[in-house]
């Protein structure tokens, strides 16, 4: 990770582990009396959201504020962006405002990379989800959550079995998780109807299964992805009921999991569709931990990209 975090491909395995370790350090500090660190005082972080995502924006905003950065929220809704202002014009505006980091969420795949490569802006760019491409901080927070539940995992995830279930084709969360978890040594099985598996999956370091029941039997981690009903309209599957029967995590499937298995979901969940209420609320579910870990991991990413003052000094302060 040089200057930007656009894709998990920007990170080596050891750099990814370093981010997780930094997040662990930050969690120790956050548990203490001092909630806010002075690390990024005087630095400006812009949340540039061309797509609505209150959850992700709040997570980045909390992360930046806890590091004492100034935060500007720049939302496409109600701004000049929705009237057709281009990414380029917006970027140049942010440059003039002196942004040190831009956290971008955009509906177009590659928008974060375009922003970083274009020369329109000199800030660090953090991809907070670009189209159906990647969502690297989501994968990092998922890895952090997994590590916190499996304390034997330290510098790699060797031997960990992960099932990622659902709309792989359209999921930026799946793409980033496949890259990160396989980089760390986990064994991944993608589970979905064939219509929701990308044709290029042959090139990925994963197994593919169309049978959820057998795929989750030995899984340590079951990661459920959100399914959008517009996929049904486009005939990716015949009906919500049929999808749910084949690929939903219901009570029977929940009960078939090993005791130690955890259930993840990037949110927001469609209860009763890809995940039943029992599964979502069970003790196996780590969905709320994913949310709180999101802030820590995003703090770690901002800290490393913007080169904040050494953490150890602050711990002592």
């Amino acid at each position: 990770m040089e200057k930007h975090l656009l894709s998990i491909n920007d990170l080596s395995a050891s750099e990814a582990i370093q981010i997780l370790n930094t997040a662990s350090e930050l969690s120790k500090i956050s548990d203490g009396p001092m909630k806010k660190l002075p690390t990024l005082r005087g630095r400006t972080v812009v949340n540039l959201f061309f797509e609505d995502s209150t959850r992700t924006r709040i997570s980045f905003e909390s992360a930046a504020k806890r590091l004492s950065a100034d935060v500007i929220n720049f939302s496409a809704k109600g701004s000049s962006v929705s009237k057709g202002e281009s990414l380029k014009d917006t970027a140049q505006t942010l440059q003039a405002m002196g942004a040190d980091a831009v956290v971008i969420r955009h509906g177009a795949s590659g928008a974060a990379q375009r922003l970083a490569d274009s020369g329109w802006i000199s800030a660090s760019v953090i991809n907070a989800g670009d189209g159906t491409h990647e969502h690297p901080t989501q994968a990092l927070l998922d890895a952090y959550t997994i590590r916190s539940k499996f304390p034997d995992l330290k510098d790699n995830f060797n031997g960990l079995k992960v099932a990622i279930v659902g709309d792989i084709l359209h999921s930026r969360v799946a793409r980033s998780n496949v890259l990160l978890l396989s980089k760390l040594g986990a064994k991944i099985t993608l589970v979905a109807p064939p219509t929701l598996i990308p044709v290029g999956v042959t090139d990925w370091d994963v197994d593919v299964s169309y049978d959820l029941d057998s795929a989750i039997l030995n899984a340590d981690v079951v990661m459920m992805l959100r399914i959008q009903s517009e996929r049904m309209a486009a005939s990716f599957f015949p009906s919500e009921r049929e999808y749910s029967r084949g690929y939903g995590l219901d009570l029977a499937r929940l009960n078939s999991l090993k005791d130690s298995t955890i259930v993840m979901h990037p949110g927001p969940m469609n209860r009763g569709l890809e995940i039943s209420a029992e599964s979502a609320d069970s003790h196996k579910s780590v969905v709320l931990a994913q949310v709180s870990n999101g802030v820590l991991v995003r703090m770690a990413v901002l800290y490393q990209l913007l080169g904040g003052a050494a953490l150890t000094g602050e711990v002592g302060a």
Binding site: S86, L87, G107, R114, D117, T132, V199, G200
Partner: protein
């Protein structure tokens, strides 16, 4: 105006002087010195290149190209005839619009501009455009295409193929099954899966090619497949020719050289329709062009203003400019790789396209009495593509910064020198008589 091209190298390596008078090659021999002397310095003289697939954007999008700027780009690229696609604003679907484009080409005087007529009114794919009126207009349209869009309705395609038989017309199909390419952004494959860009599968092209080949056979009409991009498409055309079906096929220079791997940085300069495909497809296209399965090279020159490419991939326009780089790219892909000779290049880029379109004054071998539509090429030169020196009004070349072989030195259009030492000769300065 009379000219003598001194020290011209013919395809058989003979060094000759060529006398040009009254628009034709008056004499070929030794020690000729009539009229203005152009010293070829042993550069290769070939018939001017002929493009059957050019987007000139006029009328309607003169901010990206005009007939005049496109003609200048053509002359710089060694073309003496280009074919203006119908997807302008208004669409070239009436005699009025095609005559306007034809007249603008004549006025620019740098290249013969032959308009292509739309197959369907407004390119809407609903009913036939006024094909007969365009054929009988001053522009004498013979090629019809909805390029940019596919004539996807099979019955309408059948009718179009049949209808143009009365004036020996040809339907040039942009083969893209629309239902299989909703929202498509790039070739569907390993790279699109990684990048999260909606795929444009090869089968969407091949399904239309297969259908149209069978329709052309059924009604006994002429079909031209625009910009073939897939290995499967080459196989289908090969099959059709083996059955004696009257089909011709085209490939663009960029599909002979570039692959979908280039999309990896999301730079929209590589966004084009049909999309860049895989290495395997590129190899099949080269083989198909070499063995004649693919008859011609067509540039699909598609100018777009900066703002239409200076954005995120998904919002960017499809298309690349290509007139000024076409020859060099084909040399790089086909001659430097020893897949093709210069003779075959001339066949694919001049003789065959002129024959398909019926451009009688173009694509004639360099011989006494032939029309003086000529390109003179320094085959040993190399040059670096610089988007700022393009004559085209738009700068969206995917080849910027690449070192290219072979450079067009001079171009003669109907006996007039329109490109001299790589510079456009404006009509005002007496290039014409």
């Amino acid at each position: 105006m009379k000219y003598t091209i001194k020290n011209a190298r013919m395809l058989d390596d003979a060094i000759v002087d060529i006398e040009i008078a009254n628009g034709v090659i008056a004499n070929i021999g030794k020690e000729i010195s009539a009229g203005e002397i152009v010293d070829a310095q042993k550069s290769l003289v070939i018939p001017g290149l002929v493009d059957l697939h050019t987007h000139l954007r006029e009328p309607g999008r003169e901010d990206s190209e005009t007939v005049a700027t496109g003609s200048a780009a053509a002359a710089k690229g060694g073309f003496t005839a280009i074919s203006a696609m119908a997807n302008t604003f208004p669409v070239a679907d009436t005699a009025g619009v095609v005559e306007q484009v034809f007249r603008l080409g004549q006025e620019a005087g740098l290249c013969d501009v032959f308009p292509i007529g739309a197959v369907t009114a407004g390119l809407e794919g609903k009913k036939l455009a006024e094909l007969g009126a365009m054929a009988n207009s001053k522009a004498q349209v013979r090629i019809f295409s909805d390029d940019g869009k596919c004539v996807s309705d099979p019955l309408l395609m059948r009718r179009a193929l049949e209808y143009v038989k009365t004036f020996n017309g040809i339907i040039a199909q942009h083969a893209q099954e629309p239902a299989l390419t909703v929202g498509s952004q790039m070739n569907e494959g390993l790279v699109s899966s990684k990048l999260g860009l909606t795929g444009w599968p090869a089968v969407a092209e091949e399904a239309i090619i297969a259908r149209d080949i069978l329709l052309a056979e059924h009604v006994g009409s002429r079909l031209h497949i625009c910009h073939l991009t897939t290995a499967g498409g080459v196989d289908l055309v090969r099959f059709a020719k083996s059955r004696g079906i009257n089909v011709t096929a085209e490939v663009t220079p960029h599909h002979l050289l570039l692959t979908d791997e280039l999309v990896s940085n999301y730079d929209p300069v590589f966004k084009v329709n049909p999309p860049l495909r895989t290495e395997k497809d590129v190899m099949a296209l080269r083989k198909g062009l070499a063995d004649g399965t693919i008859d011609i090279v067509g540039t699909d020159h598609a100018p777009h203003p900066t703002e239409d490419k200076d954005c995120e991939w998904q919002s960017a326009a499809f298309g690349m400019v290509g007139l000024e780089t076409a020859l060099s790219v084909v040399v790089k892909a086909m001659i430097e790789t020893e897949l093709m000779s210069w003779e075959t290049l001339v066949e694919r880029m001049s003789i065959a396209p002129a024959k398909i379109a019926g451009y009688a004054k173009h694509g004639q071998i360099v011989a006494k009495g032939s029309p003086a539509n000529l390109a003179i090429i320094d085959t040993s030169a190399t040059w670096i593509v610089d988007r700022n020196t393009l004559a085209s009004k738009s700068k969206n070349t995917p080849f910027a910064g690449m070192t290219m072989p072979a450079q067009v030195r001079h171009t003669f259009l109907n006996g007039d020198l329109v490109l001299k030492n790589g510079q456009i000769v404006s009509k005002m300065n007496g290039g014409s008589n």
